[in-house]
């Protein structure tokens, strides 16, 4: 169901408001840390988790993580507020808010984690929750496909990431990230450095959608627009960026780091800008510009120089602000007009003045015009690019091209829908309600405010972030609107000129780009074939293993048991067996006779119900054996189980067709006989070694004084080994529930599942 089919409502009641308040409180809590972090302190909070492996719930707040935490919780709050209006009255809004909040908390955990394993846990949680969010409109097949694609790509990257983290933990001999970082670049001399780096980057690149793994991100736009604004601009896709930034102190500086990040980052930035200009769908266009931003951020992380680091920190914030604002604006346009196609939109400025203004400010920041923060970000980008050691001209050229194309997209997304003359208005268009305006307006205003007063941002976030990246406060460069006439300014002017020219010829440019990009292969095209191949393969395998006949499964299981036990006895040799008969008394004989008679009757009868009853005789005989040897608890349990098994099997057996005249099945007879023989041999072997009474002695001695119980069996069950019992009971419950589900054949009392 798309958002616009929903009748107008003002919100979702308490379910809509509570998440907003909660995330606002989280934001306020992080904001209160700003002064301390701005002073250069680092906060840590540790509780042990798995001390034997040195893994702990360790969290760390420094400039980098606080910047991310503020972006996540701040934009999260605005997005939740926006969603409450955007999805007002949606039947599953509670679910949506839960997913979004769960995602936000996972993401916060990810940027605050100070332990490799903890980091991974949150990493996977963000993958999982974002899968739920992308597939929120689960009625649409496209939406399900794209959610699954995002899950597969980032999940596969996550596996590589886990391997990289484990190797890193082994190489550094600690899982604490702060300790690894404190070791400086020592890790780069370790022989495992290259594999660690490659595995970590695989994880980061899939998560942050770098070429060639970029294809899932635009597809993930199947999500409701607020989700795209949150996940695919400010947060989830930056998780990979965050990890690269986090590891920057320890990992950066090597050739492999620099070249990989520089080349792939630059390629992503340029390629994505071209794809962005090609799009006619506003949201898709924004999705590709996000890719461009991610590429640029990756490119800067490849460097070590102060300008590049400052550019990274600034652009990270700039981009989150304007991109989230623009996504929310596009959502508002979509909601008001029912379309996101750029060619169908125009003249909205008269009807939606506030939205138009917010969009305009955000877009000017995106295009890099002064006096907005985007301009400072762009100046720094050029300064950073010119400072790179490898190929400053190529990098600066790439950034110039990407920025010019960015200007085009900014115009297409935020200018044309509002100000292009358009006569045909097919439906009454109203300004968005205030909760949907708060986000774009506030985010755009912040972009302007920070542009005019860059000092605010500098001391609070940018400098601490650069310190996190380099460990050196001297590397932080000053954010300033007017740095005098220098090369970055010249490049800026060149960008504007090129961008405006490209904007003027935009329709032709788009057609040309469609032709060019169509020739570049993308993994997305092979995706469905790949998924089908997996599906067919597993189906074929399942048919081989699962014949659907119970007798086949049992035969396979018992053959395996016989083979394993026989192999064990042949391998290990049989201990000297105790001769039987020495301590037989008269009571053993009727017991044995009862058991044997029951077993024989079970095997040879042609009536199912008789077989069940005979099996019950065997069970009751076993219970008698337990009683005779002084285990009343076991005996009672055995009796009860026997009764219930007879009842259960009888219920089933009464309803299946009669057996035909029992055919002799030699294979099954052989398996049964072999099972009997090896079990007997194992039991004889067991009783021939002296009984180890250490445990029995302990429980006999400790049961009353320690656990106040005289029934040792029960005391073991409920006290000494209570965890085991809990596990067993859980298995019983799960088995019963699964059997119920199977028996009911997937029918459910609920309407929707």
């Amino acid at each position: 169901m798309s958002a616009r089919d929903i009748p107008a409502a003002t919100g979702n009641g308490l379910v809509g408001i509570l998440p907003v308040l909660l995330s606002a409180a989280i934001f306020a809590a992080f904001a209160s840390l700003l002064p301390a972090i701005g002073m250069g302190s680092v906060l840590q909070w540790v509780i042990p988790w798995i001390p034997s492996l040195g893994i702990s719930f360790a969290f760390l707040v420094d400039g980098l993580s606080l910047t991310f935490a503020l972006l996540i919780s701040g934009i999260g709050t605005l997005v939740l507020l926006y969603s409450n209006s955007y999805l007002a009255g949606h039947p599953h809004y509670a679910r949506f808010a839960l997913f979004l909040l769960a995602f936000m908390i996972s993401m916060l955990g990810l940027v605050l984690a100070d332990d490799l394993i903890l980091l991974f846990v949150f990493w996977e949680l963000t993958t999982f929750t974002s899968y739920l969010l992308i597939g929120f409109s689960h009625g649409s097949e496209q939406s399900r496909r794209n959610a699954l694609q995002a899950l597969f790509v980032t999940g596969a990257g996550g596996l590589a990431f886990l391997a990289g983290l484990i190797l890193l933990g082994l190489a550094a001999e600690t899982t604490r990230i702060s300790e690894i970082l404190a070791g400086g670049t020592a890790i780069q001399d370790h022989p495992l450095y290259a594999p660690i780096l490659i595995l970590l980057l695989l994880g980061a690149f899939t998560k942050s959608a770098q070429v060639p793994f970029h294809f899932w991100l635009p597809n993930a736009m199947a999500a409701p627009t607020p989700v795209s604004a949150f996940l695919h601009s400010a947060t989830m896709v930056k998780a990979g960026i965050y990890v690269m930034a986090r590891m920057h102190i320890a990992m950066a500086g090597s050739d492999i780091w620099m070249w990989t990040l520089t080349i792939l980052g630059a390629a992503t930035a340029v390629y994505a800008s071209m794809l962005a200009v090609r799009q006619t769908d506003l949201k898709q266009a924004l999705a590709y510009t996000t890719l461009m931003a991610l590429g640029t951020l990756t490119l800067f992380l490849g460097q070590e120089e102060g300008y590049a680091m400052t550019a990274f920190a600034t652009f990270l914030i700039v981009h989150s602000l304007y991109k989230a604002a623009l996504f929310l604006v596009v959502g508002a346009i979509d909601k008001a007009t029912g379309t996101r196609e750029v060619d169908a939109l125009g003249g909205l400025g008269r009807f939606m003045p506030v939205t138009a203004a917010a969009a305009g400010v955000a877009a000017l920041s995106m295009a890099g015009f002064p006096p907005f923060l985007g301009f400072i970000g762009k100046e720094l980008k050029y300064a950073g690019a010119l400072a790179v050691t490898s190929e400053p001209v190529v990098i600066a050229g790439a950034i110039l091209l990407a920025n010019a194309l960015m200007l085009v997209v900014a115009g297409v997304v935020a200018f044309r829908p509002f100000w292009r003359s358009q006569a045909a208005v097919t439906r009454p268009i109203r300004e968005a309600p205030w909760p949907m305006l708060a986000g774009p307006v506030l985010l755009a205003a912040l972009g302007a405010a920070f542009g005019i007063y860059p000092d605010l941002l500098q001391s609070a976030l940018v400098t601490p972030t650069v310190v996190s990246l380099t460990g050196d406060v001297g590397e932080a460069r000053t954010l300033t609107l007017w740095a005098g006439v220098n090369l970055p300014l010249v490049l800026s002017i060149a960008t504007f000129a090129l961008g405006l020219v490209l904007y003027a010829i935009h329709p032709k440019l788009r057609e040309a780009l469609i032709e060019i990009t169509a020739r570049i292969p993308s993994l997305d095209r092979g995706w469905d074939g790949f998924m089908d191949a997996i599906r067919r393969g597993s189906e074929a395998l399942t048919h081989v293993i699962q014949t659907g006949r119970m007798t086949d499964y049992l035969a396979a299981m018992f053959t395996t048991i016989v083979a394993a036990l026989a192999a064990g006895m042949i391998w290990g040799g049989l201990p000297g067996l105790t001769p039987i008969g020495a301590d037989l008394t008269w009571i053993h004989l009727p017991l044995a006779a009862l058991l044997l008679a029951g077993a024989a009757q079970t095997a040879f009868t042609s009536s199912r119900i008789a077989a069940v009853a005979a099996l019950g005789v065997v069970g009751i005989g076993t219970a008698l054996v337990f009683i005779y040897f002084g285990a009343p608890d076991v005996a009672i349990t055995q009796l009860m189980v026997e009764v219930l098994v007879v009842v259960l099997i009888a219920i089933v057996m009464l309803r299946v067709p009669r057996l035909k005249a029992a055919p002799f099945r030699p294979l099954h007879a052989i398996i049964a006989a072999a099972m009997g023989v090896v079990t007997t041999l194992v039991l004889l072997a067991v009783v021939s070694v002296p009984l180890d009474r250490r445990l029995s002695d302990f429980f006999e001695a400790a049961s009353w004084p320690d656990a106040y119980g005289r029934n040792i069996v029960n005391v073991i069950l409920v006290d000494f080994r209570a965890l085991d019992t809990f596990g067993e009971v859980a298995v019983v419950v799960v088995a019963a529930l699964s059997a119920m589900a199977l028996l009911r054949g997937g029918r459910s009392s609920e309407g929707e599942r």
């Binding site: 106040y708 005391v715 069950l717 809990f726 019963a736 009911r744």
Partner: protein, 139 residues
């Protein structure tokens, strides 16, 4: 099964078995018995009732759905284990309270171990009934 004698008898037998099952649950710590056995015996009572009078009647007599009872039992057992944390002990450490304790008499012993056993009782009881009822209805 359509038998007047069984139907008449099942009513009383089921009650007796249920009573007996609680007796078995409570004596379990010192004498043969316990939550597992108690749950099995209690379930047998209701299975008998279901065979004699039909699952619909048995479900009505039970009031709660058996799967809810099973899950509640599992939750109760978990709570009993977690409660040790309140006293600063490790997971599943038994906590005891002796009411009316004197020099030679321990008084009435109450413990989280008993709560745990009750959880086991309910989990076993509910699981078996869930399985048997569903089989009776669906097979």
């Amino acid at each position: 099964m359509n038998s007047v004698i069984l139907r008449a008898g099942a009513r009383y037998l089921a009650g007796l078995l249920l009573l007996f099952s609680i007796y078995m649950l409570l004596r379990g710590h010192n004498e043969p018995g316990g939550g597992f056995i108690g749950g099995l015996i209690g379930a047998t009572g209701f299975v008998l009732y279901a065979i004699a009078c039909g699952t619909a009647d048995a479900r009505a007599a039970l009031r709660l759905t058996p799967e809810a009872i099973a899950v509640a039992g599992l939750g109760l057992a978990l709570l009993a284990g977690l409660s040790a944390a309140l006293f600063g002990d490790a997971f599943f450490t038994g906590q005891w309270l002796f009411i009316g304790e004197t020099e030679d008499d321990k008084g009435l012993p109450l413990s989280t171990v008993l709560v745990f056993d009750l959880g086991v009782y309910l989990a076993v009881f509910g699981s078996i009934l869930a399985l048997v009822f569903t089989m009776e209805e669906e097979v």
